[in-house]
Symmetry: C2
Subunit: 192 residues, 2 copies
């Protein structure tokens, strides 16, 4: 884009900026879109949002149950929408309207000779969290777009409080976000 | 930004766009910056680039050596610069000037009651690959900014061919990039 800009006569630069701006507006899919009170439309374009961290093998076992080593582990890639990331970088707080997306992928072991490690294989599911005090008791709503067999729903209603909110409320380090697992967010926080 | 835009009288909108455009230009740190023939300055702002995949426990063992379970495993987060990602999404090819960054983090097991899995703890090291036929025999150069003890160098000279290039040349699925490990890139490829 900068080359295009330099190649244009000055009197057209404003028009070019308007066009580019309009296109950037069109590409901004980072605000949460709701239907009715609290049905969230599936976030779009989130793979170009800011990635904040990945984990492998996240599970919520009851009691002392341990995973068996043969149990399939999934990667969890977490993204935050760019506007919320910029606000967080400036203020250290998650603004109203923050959207975080959790994309879940199957894992596999590298088979290439001379390489070891576990990598991300295929997309499995998609979840999201939205900060919105008007819509959600406690300030955050949690959603799953999982429609089974790797398919995704177009929209989702929020989980009951006990499913996600209570754990995020008790165990997440900052405002219901597990920043203890996200070095990218910790590094972006303004220093006091 | 869209609210700002709507609030402005029309004759100021062009000026606002120019300012916003200039600021977006200033924030574009995605092109590789070289010193002399092939010394790469450390990429900046890459945590806001497009994340393409993470892996855990990547190692390059000699022969049949197996990692012990007590061996510390690291997460490897891989990013591609946004301009290269857009070009790749359109053409299915990595354009000249493509920069890919590999950020390496320590891992730890979740300690919160009721949570299991391995997460990313602290940044350890930074590597990069640049596609540039004029500078690098074979088309790609590979760099490490590791300066020991978690510190990073400001610039780096490329690895010898045998260190990275040969493995990328033989085992990477597409043009020296391990797209077999990066579902985000496979999903972005145009369908034929």
């Amino acid at each position: 884009m900068s080359q295009l800009k330099r190649a244009l006569p000055l009197h057209l630069a404003g028009v070019a900026s308007l066009l580019i701006f309009a296109s950037a507006q069109g590409a901004d899919k980072s605000s949460p879109a709701f239907e009715g009170k609290d049905t969230l439309l599936r976030p779009q374009g989130y793979r170009e949002w800011v990635f904040v961290g990945s984990s492998l093998g996240l599970r919520y076992p009851k009691g002392v149950e341990k995973p068996s080593s043969s149990q399939a582990k999934s990667f969890n890639n977490v993204y935050i929408d760019p506007a919320a990331f910029r606000a967080f970088s400036r203020t250290g707080q998650f603004p109203e309207g923050t959207v975080m997306v959790l994309e879940i992928l199957s894992s596999d072991a590298k088979a290439e000779p001379g390489l070891q490690g576990e990598y991300e294989r295929e997309f499995i599911a998609l979840e999201a969290a939205v900060k919105d005090r008007r819509r959600f008791d406690g300030g955050w709503g949690y959603f799953s777009f999982d429609d089974g067999e790797g398919k995704l729903k177009e929209k989702a209603t929020p989980f009951a409080r006990a499913s996600c909110f209570e754990c995020h409320d008790k165990k997440a380090a900052l405002d219901h976000v597990f920043t203890q697992f996200y070095p990218v967010l910790r590094a972006a926080q303004p220093r006091k």
